[in-house]
């Protein structure tokens, strides 16, 4: 009986020869020749060796079988790999292996664009020491008007056309009632933000909706002045719109702040020719020093404490930021619109 050692050796030699031949095959046709030479069922060299298995003792056969199988597998794998790389080189591939096909997709969810604006605004104010509070959307006349230094018999109460509920209740026309409710409950230092929905008796058009998000801010402490108002809101504006943004404060009137201001920004942007260009002045928020009457109405000592407040419309800011022409798109909720802002 022949000794199995030589046969195993033969197989190993065959393997290294085969692998070399595979490597050097440069066409699919040549590769096919290599396959026939080594793995062909009748004439193949591996088969040739295996035909001699009968010459060995049953105890030795499994070892040889295992070696032969290993060699076959390796050669198969090498052939396959070479086929793939050759195929890729000439662009001829079986369908199942065309890696240029599109991958499997999945639905991409996303926050509403107005939510995204709020998140970004909040993030900036957080670094300036602000915390987040909530208020109810249904309110009393006291919190929506009177405690905010807006007597109901004064025309200032008409500035926002209010939606009324029963029992003298109303839908808040701004987030400012949160100011009073916070001042009643907490001691300064107060630095709060309050995002939320507000309501006005408006019809839908490109720049008005009867409900919209507002973001209220309030700072009350000892030693807060108009300079702090300008500094804080200027800092915010430059962080949100870009460091070379110009910020302008114009006098205005809100019953619950005095002095009051409108805040405008002028941004620098790259135009279609890639040049730096400036926007017009864009109104982004109303602000002012908290009127002492508001502090008094909340039970705070207006001689000791001063503060400032501000309010802005994340929806309006969203229009400017994304170049959206019409506020109604925010409420239509077409998935082709929302999808443009999707992503985690």
């Amino acid at each position: 009986m022949a000794h199995s050692g030589s046969l195993v050796e033969d197989l190993n030699t065959l393997e290294s020869e085969g692998l070399k031949a595979v490597q050097s095959a440069e066409t699919i046709e040549a590769l096919e020749q290599v396959r026939i030479e080594f793995l062909g069922r009748k004439e193949g060299r591996v088969s040739g060796i295996l035909r001699r298995v009968g010459e060995f003792s049953p105890a030795e056969r499994p070892k040889m079988g295992a070696t032969a199988n290993r060699v076959k597998e390796r050669l198969h794998a090498a052939l396959k790999a070479q086929e793939v790389s050759l195929g890729q080189a000439v662009g001829r591939r079986s369908v199942s292996e065309d890696l240029t096909l599109p991958s499997r997709g999945r639905w991409v969810g996303g926050r509403h664009p107005v939510t995204q604006v709020i998140d970004d605004l909040v993030e900036i104010f957080r670094t300036l020491g602000f915390t987040l509070v909530r208020g109810t959307e249904a309110e009393t006349e006291w919190y929506n008007f009177e405690a905010l230094n807006t007597p109901l018999d004064h025309p200032a109460a008409d500035e926002q056309d209010t939606l009324y509920l029963k029992a003298g209740h109303l839908l808040r026309s701004h987030t400012s009632p949160v100011q009073v409710r916070t001042l009643e409950r907490y001691e300064p230092p107060i630095r709060i933000l309050s995002p939320g929905m507000v309501y006005r008796r408006d019809s839908y058009d490109a720049t008005h909706t009867p409900a919209f998000m507002q973001l209220e801010g309030l700072v009350v402490d000892e030693g807060i002045s108009f300079v702090d108002l300008k500094a804080t809101l200027g800092e915010f504006a430059r962080r949100f719109w870009g460091s070379d943004t110009q910020v302008r404060f114009r006098p205005s009137f809100f019953p619950f702040t005095e002095p009051s201001a409108e805040v405008d920004v002028k941004r620098v942007f790259l135009n279609e020719r890639g040049e730096e260009s400036e926007t017009d002045w864009i109104e982004i928020m109303g602000a002012g020093m908290v009127d002492p009457a508001v502090l008094d109405a909340s039970g705070l000592d207006s001689e000791r404490y001063t503060g400032f407040a501000f309010g802005m419309g994340p929806g309006r800011i969203g229009l400017l930021r994304y170049g959206i022409p019409d506020l109604r798109l925010f409420f239509e909720n077409d998935v082709r619109f929302l999808g443009q802002f999707a992503g985690p």
């Binding site: 926050r111 915390t131 959307e137 939606l163 839908l171 630095r191 402490d221």
Partner: protein
Amino acid sequence: MNVSYRWLQACTTEPIGSLEEIAERLATRGFPVEEARELSVGLDEVVVAQVQEVRPHPDADRLQICQVDGGAGLVQVVCGAPNVEEGGYYPFAPVGASLPGGIKIRKVKLRGQASEGMLCSERELGLGTDEEGLMVLEGASDPGQALVEALGLEDVRLDVEVTPNRPDLLSHLGVVREITAGGHAHLAVPDIPGSDPGVGETLDTIELVVNQREATGGGVTIRVEEEDLCFRYLGLRLSGVSVQPSPPWLQARLRAIGARPINNVVDATNYVLHEVGQPLHAFDLDLIQDRTVVIRCAREGESIRTLDRVGRKLSSRMLAICDIEKPIAVAGVIGGADSEVSDKTTEILLECALFKPASIRSTRQALGLSTDASYRFERGVDPEGMRGAIERAAELILATAGGGTFGPLLDVCSRPFSRERIPLHLERVEKVLGVPFKAEAVRALLEPLGLLVEDAGTDLSVEVPGFRSYDVIREVDLIEEVARTHGYDAFPDTLGPFRPGSVPDHPLFRLEEAVRGELVTSGLLEVQIPAFASHRDGEVEILNPVSAEEAFLRSRLLPGLKACLEYNLRRGNRDVLLFELGTIFRRGERGGLPHEETHVAAILHGKREPAHWSGLAARLDLWDLKSLLERLVDVVSEGGWVVRAALGKDEEWGALDSEAAFRVVDAEGLVRGAGGKLRVEEMDLPLWALEVWALELVLPEEPNPQVAQVFQSLPVYQAIDRDLALLVPGDRPAEEVISLIRKWGGADLREVQVFDVYHGDELPQGVRSVAVRLRFRAPDRTLQDQEVEEAMRAVTRALEEELSVGYRKKKD
């Protein structure tokens, strides 16, 4: 508010600056110019024309054929205006002309009749809003004259946004006073063309009858019965006037601000209103019974026909100007038609009054009628400007309508005005504004506004003139004026140190963010929907809704999401996965505010994933919905919330299909949410629509603060798995089976996983096979086979005895 550039210029002896300068100065003071419109724009080709002849159109009832003299021979014009008259003068756009609206005039045939040109209304010329008929050119006489010249339209109309705290700016003089620096010496009311210089003196030296309640003179009696609502009432009789159209300059002034000239008397009062801001009224004295004017509240049931020809019921809360019998005007709002000045009028009573602002406001609100007069009265009229205003109007009337004063100036005044002095502490100025101001600087800033500063070291005292007496009342009002005139841009804006806020974050924000994160990761898009609903979907009513469809506040989010889905499917969007986080409203306690909750809701329609070449994407199904619901419950639950299969119909949580519905139940057994398949029959969906899956969940009002995560050691010992193919009777919920397995599996049973459910013919009737894998592992040692076998025996025995659940065979 509209002002005329030329009129502004006429109110000062100094140059007022260019349009741009005025707009800039107004804006930096807080009163932006919304629009500046050159009145002559687009009117170059429009001329004055006289209509020579009017005859009916043979084939159209409403049209007339006019022969028009536009200065270039007679042309035929077909005209539909009801007020065209033979001999009348109207604006005329000849063939070839263009109008401000972009209309190009062509030669046309109207019902077979040639029409060469167009006679125009105010609206068509962009001069006003009146489109009822042609614009009548009173006093015109020169066909062919350019309209711009005839109407004095070489002017610019500025629309200035005046904030409600500044009634003193609601006039030309007021605007000039605000924007010109350097005191008031240069302010001047313009000269009146044709005025007799003697008239001014006569008026200045006119006899005065002053009284608290009642004054009589010149045959006229004025009695104020409501001193709390009418602080002062001036009356002046003018006699022998001749009412006719105003002279062109006066008409031009009024047109420039968009007001319509009526006659020289009415125009004079209107002119003064816009010049100095004081509303005035002129009565035909002969139509006032007994020539007695009584200022009292209307009696219940009294009514009046007002100047706009509307009959109005008055209430006892409305102040009225009456004769001895009946109301002749609604105080501060509008005059009565029955005492109106007409071309027959010769005797006039001029009224100049000061009413309580809140009273005028409530009256005009109740009547639903806002006028130039009520707009100013409810904001506050200068109590020091009344005498000047009535004299000014008298001077104008005498200059344009002739006649003279008759009798004394009657002045019934229960509350004489006296100026307030407000203390101003420089220390407080610095505290609020953050920058120190010296007394001299404050004086220099305030005095040009007419605020008179008296220096007393660091404490100043400021005297406030009447025209600022409504908004400058407190120290802080003065501080605002300092900041405003100093210029906001002049303040520094360096960020100083600050103390972080002490108010804790509301925990719901964090929870909302976690909910959003879960849903966004699951591929859903967030929507925002206004909280309005119809009566079907809400219980809190809005008293003054915009429409019936928006007359309530929603008590659920899902109806809004359904509408959103319908909208998207209608637009051909097939895969629609949406969610909303929002507020819902329910009736509150008696008299209390409505109850509000924050909810999250989601709606799913379409495929589980985008189409891919490797195979057909599966539809979203019940298990996707249940998974989403369970994950949300995980995020939201305060502990103990579970998702249960709902039995029977669940109308309360929306139209869920009873075959496929879940409820979320909290530890107390309260339902906190629901989910399942929507009954699509109730929706407006296209034919190709698939199943619709939806859920809605309450977020806890005050979520628990986050519980700190505690680390669990990783398992070190091998787990042993055992599979069971259970034969479960059809009506036995899998949930019961699993919880029983957990109960009897012992402390080392870690997981129970359902890996197959099978219905087949070889199974007994009404029985399904549920294959479960049980994983056992001990924390401290390798489990022995027999320990696991013991646990398995306990499990299978309990299943059989308690739930009649058998098993097919043991798998490895």
